[in-house]
Amino acid sequence: MASLDLVNVQKSFGPVKILHDISIGLKDGEFLVLVGPSGCGKSTLMNIIAGLEEPSGGSLTLEGRDITTVAPAERNISMVFQSYALYPNMTVAKNIEFPLEMRKVEKSKRAERVKSVSKLLQIEHLLERKPRQLSGGQRQRVAIGRALAREPQLYLFDEPLSNLDAQLRVDMRTEIKKLHQRLKATIVYVTHDQIEAMTLATRIAVMKGGVLQQLGTPHEVYNRPANTFVASFMGSPRMNLVKARVAAHGDGLALTIQQGSAAAVHIDLPRDAVPAALARYSGEELIAGIRAEAVTLATEGMVAGPMQRFVDARIEVIEPTGADTLVVLDLGGHEFTVRLDPDLALTPGQNARFLVDLSKLVCFDPKTESLIA
């Protein structure tokens, strides 16, 4: 296993710049997920790491070796493709064996390796079948098997779960995580699904428009997003982002949320909940972000802790998911989604009181949209 360094990687197709100065340092054994919407450049970056495309600028180093212009075959990497890319005219066994054959590994060692890989992935019974006789999930395992055969320094996964149906996707996600823990492999994984990113990664690289938006652990990306894009991209339902006005309040600050002719909502902010830099925005507007699960329904006799505050809001829409209830509120004229307990008796139009955990509050500059830290 190995460390991977991307330094100022750029890519242009003619006048169109696809990747802008991507720099990521990946340690041995890490699971890096490149996540972002379609067109953000994650697949292009993956292809550059694989060697299937050359960068227009910047460099790549694998375990100290410069691989910027090295051919894919020489990079000691394996890749699992979105469409699995199994060789249709070969059996499963031959598919898995192929990379070993190309590296001129001796025949008995090859057979041994195929056996151990297929056992690990529970596809031993499929070894003599051809890809067209396999289901989607089975093909996926074979593709992973082919990648595992060579024990390379780096594994690349290009949206491997996109073509599977929802339940299978969840199961395979767990399988991949288990594989990572078992093999302690260095993995770069591309997906557009932020849940996959959150559950699998040791670190997430959020991309948009060819620019790296944030590189951090799932916890960091989720709780301290670097900008409003990362804030709304990660997490489901999206983080609530509302325009709020900052004002001095006693010896601290308070937020006022008001849109249109609705009644204003005032929240005074505990000193420890907000960064010092927030004081600079006193008298101005900013974008306040709070996730749906940071809010609970206030009940009789509930007391607010030092980081919590009560707010009143009107319930607009109720969406029971079975595991919880998603409720869309009118908070000071803004739509605001909260995640509540599953078995509540609420009605649309009802006014209610809620408890907000302000330790989860993040604020963004209204112009740059970056985090006020």
Binding site: D5, L6, V7, N8, K11, S12, F13, G14, S23, I24, G25, N47, L52, E53, E54, P55, S56, G57, G58, S59, T61, D66, T68, T69, L215, G216
Partner: protein, 302 residues
């Protein structure tokens, strides 16, 4: 988490990821392709170049070299005065014959093919698939096998030795191909469009004239090009069913070249061959991808 390494920024040429770099293997590749291109172009080059030489220059000189004494006499001869059979008419009347043959035959066989394609894909009736298979196979038969009975039939219909007779023959044996082309095209046509037209009250001709045909331009072009090329270049039927007045151009050209009497006027032969080749070559160059599509459609299964 920016990385602290300070690698130099590497700029790579041709870095679109699409054009590989120029190295020895690529040079060899282009060299081989170029050599093959030369071989493929050579016969036409020879044909054109020698059609502008006077006869003694051909006899004394190199077939491959450019003319020293440029002359258009061979072309004039090929067109209007060369001996075809026993008459010194040049190829002109037969060029006209070919046009008189090709245009109606192409129009008719295309229309019939379109009609058949429409019927075969939009209607179910007994024997439809069998008839289509029969038409498909008819494309492959050696046409020698129909020469004798067709000769009798043409005689019976009073069409023997006429251009009209050739139109009939070429149309009949073109039906297989044109039906194949249109049938495959209409089989892939979105069914919802037709269904909604029917619901709007379009009948048999309504669907055909208002929905299918207006959206059939690609296949019409492909079919016309294919039929034009095949019928213009056709020889066997021409040789078997025409007489001197109705020879198509291919037969006349063959007559010109293979006449065993007298001096072989290579330059005239070449000029004549190029005249015969010109229409289909022009169609080829102009139609490009449609020509290829016709080849592919004609080769792909039913």
């Amino acid at each position: 988490m920016a990385n602290a390494h300070t690698h130099a920024i590497v700029h790579v040429h041709g870095a679109s990821g699409i054009q590989p770099r120029l190295d020895l293997a690529r040079i060899a590749l282009y060299a081989v392709l170029f050599a093959c291109a030369v071989v493929f172009l050579m016969p036409v080059y020879v044909m054109v170049v020698n059609s502008f030489k006077p006869l003694d220059e051909i006899r004394s000189g190199n077939l491959m070299s450019l003319p020293i004494d440029w002359t258009v006499a061979p072309w004039l001869s090929a067109w209007s005065t060369a001996q075809i059979g026993v008459e010194p008419t040049g190829l002109r009347p037969f060029f006209i014959n070919s046009f008189l043959l090709v245009i109606p035959a192409v129009v008719l066989s295309t229309l019939i093919g379109a009609l058949n394609g429409y019927i075969l894909t939009q209607f179910k009736f007994r024997g439809a698939n069998l008839m289509f298979a029969a038409m498909l196979f008819s494309v492959f038969i050696p046409f020698q096998i129909v020469l004798i009975p067709m000769a009798k039939t043409l005689g019976f219909l009073g069409l023997a030795g006429t251009v009209k007779g050739l139109i009939f023959v070429n149309t009949v044996y073109g039906i297989g191909f044109t039906t194949l082309f249109f049938r495959n095209y209409y089989a892939a046509f979105p069914a919802e469009l037709i269904r909604s037209a029917r619901m709007d009250g379009a009948g048999f001709f309504g669907v055909m004239l208002r929905i299918l045909l207006p959206n059939s331009t690609p296949i019409i072009v492909v079919t016309v090009i294919w039929q034009f090329t095949n019928i213009w270049n056709e020889f066997l039927f021409g040789a078997s069913f025409s007489d001197f007045s109705s020879y198509p151009l291919t037969v006349a050209l063959n007559n010109l070249v293979n006449s065993s009497t007298g001096v072989k006027e290579y330059n005239v032969h070449f000029a004549g061959a190029f005249i015969a080749a010109l229409p289909t070559l022009i169609v080829y160059m102009v139609s490009g991808k449609y020509f290829v599509r016709g080849l592919m459609a004609g080769s792909v299964k039913g």
